[in-house]
């Protein structure tokens, strides 16, 4: 009898964890637009810098500030009224912490003029994006996001030993797959989920 009760409790616990993970993934899917927004922002900043227009030094600070403001505004308007789950809170805290860290680090490095080497900049950026994608994918048990983290880690190492145009191409490809394609995939997944809910309602 006790064994049966324990087994039932364990099953309840497992199903609760599975529900939380599924809810966490849905939360990530509903924020898929942020991946696309930031991917496009990186492209604009890279293009602005590469084309060498006036005020080139402002390319990154301006695009990153605009992307941050847009993120905050859209987040504010899209905020759901449902209570957040523990896993969604975990994912939120990871992205919030990486956002602050990247802002502090790149602002300080840029302002002090210490970040003159393009390779180091790509390596640091890729390592930080890998960290956040890997942590999030481990929490959500999501292989696809872990694959994105692996791409960013590979770019981290590649940036240290390669250079020039090839590195820029690799960086652009990584942004395309791990930000834009992954973001669009999340947006589509959320839309099909909504469609299913509407059909069942």
């Amino acid at each position: 009898m006790t064994v049966n009760v324990e087994e039932l409790e364990l099953k309840d616990r497992l199903s609760l964890i599975e529900t939380m993970i599924a809810e966490g993934r849905r939360t990530t899917e509903s924020n898929g637009w942020t991946f696309v927004l930031w991917g496009v922002a990186y492209y604009i900043a890279i293009l602005w810098t590469a084309l060498g227009y006036d005020y080139m030094a402002w390319a990154w600070p301006v695009t990153m500030t605009v992307a941050s403001v847009l993120t905050v505004i859209i987040f504010g308007s899209k905020r759901s009224k449902r209570p957040t789950t523990t896993i969604a809170r975990a994912i939120g805290s990871i992205w919030c912490a990486i956002g602050i860290s990247m802002f502090v680090l790149f602002l300080a490095l840029g302002w002090s003029g210490k970040l003159m080497d393009y390779n180091i900049w790509v390596a640091i950026m890729a390592a930080m994006l890998a960290t956040v994608n890997a942590a999030s994918s481990m929490v959500l048990k999501w292989m696809l996001q872990f694959a994105c983290a692996a791409v960013w880690w590979a770019l981290t190492i590649y940036a240290c030993f390669s250079g020039g145009k090839l590195l820029t191409i690799a960086f652009l490809v990584a942004i395309f797959f791990c930000q834009i394609v992954f973001g669009i995939y999340l947006i589509i997944a959320e839309a099909s989920q909504r469609g299913k809910v509407a059909v069942h309602a």
Partner: protein
């Protein structure tokens, strides 16, 4: 009736979240020795490099720290099932560990980085891991450590050689060794209390 039920459900949910956070903190305290171990390893590597100018000081101490972490973690692994928060916090640290293991050796071997950028990047990444864990566990002491790391990240970009090195050693002492001991003491106290109540 429905309102009362909703209120009860909400209270249940809140108490579940609170108990999960408390359990997450307890899991974290059980791993406090890792902070002390890595704090001592970092200090050893810095002092070894500064005093003996030995080029392999960092790789040797870091590999030794990894091996020790794996051995002690395997021996201390609790038989209790891990909680969702415990799993989330460990994911943050595992991801940080892999990234640090990829980034710093690659930068070191390629000879692209100077010590200021290294300290700044390491501090920013540590600040990220500490802050994510602190927000998750609602732990002010850990968030204070994150603030120390972020401040050091900025200071390393503008400060001079010796003061930056002293600041780095102080941050390691405060945020790794002292914070680790604080966690270990909290765990020991809790174990004593549990033994008394048993």
């Amino acid at each position: 009736m429905t309102e009362n039920q909703n209120e009860l459900e909400l209270k249940d949910r809140l108490s579940l979240i609170e108990s999960m956070i408390a359990e997450g903190r307890r899991t974290h305290e059980r791993w406090a020795w890792v902070y002390v171990l890595w704090g001592v390893a970092n200090c050893t590597a810095i002092l070894w490099t500064a005093l003996a100018h030995f080029p392999y000081a960092w790789p040797i101490t870091m590999i030794a720290a990894w091996v020790l972490t794996i051995i002690v973690a395997a021996r201390r692994r609790a038989k209790r099932p891990s909680t969702t928060l415990g799993r989330a916090v460990s994911s943050i640290w595992i991801a940080f560990g892999i990234s640090a293991m990829m980034l710093f050796p690659a930068l070191g071997i390629s000879g692209r980085i100077d010590e200021y950028i290294e300290i700044s990047v390491a501090s920013a990444m540590l600040g990220m891991a500490y802050a994510a864990s602190a927000i998750l566990l609602r732990w002010k002491a850990q968030f204070a450590c994150a603030l120390v790391w972020w401040s050091l990240s900025v200071y390393a970009c503008f400060g001079k050689s010796t003061p930056v090195a002293i600041a780095y050693l102080s941050a390691i002492f405060l945020c790794m060794i002292v914070f680790g001991f604080y966690g270990m003491i909290a765990e020991a106290r809790r174990c004593k209390q549990e033994a008394k109540h048993a």
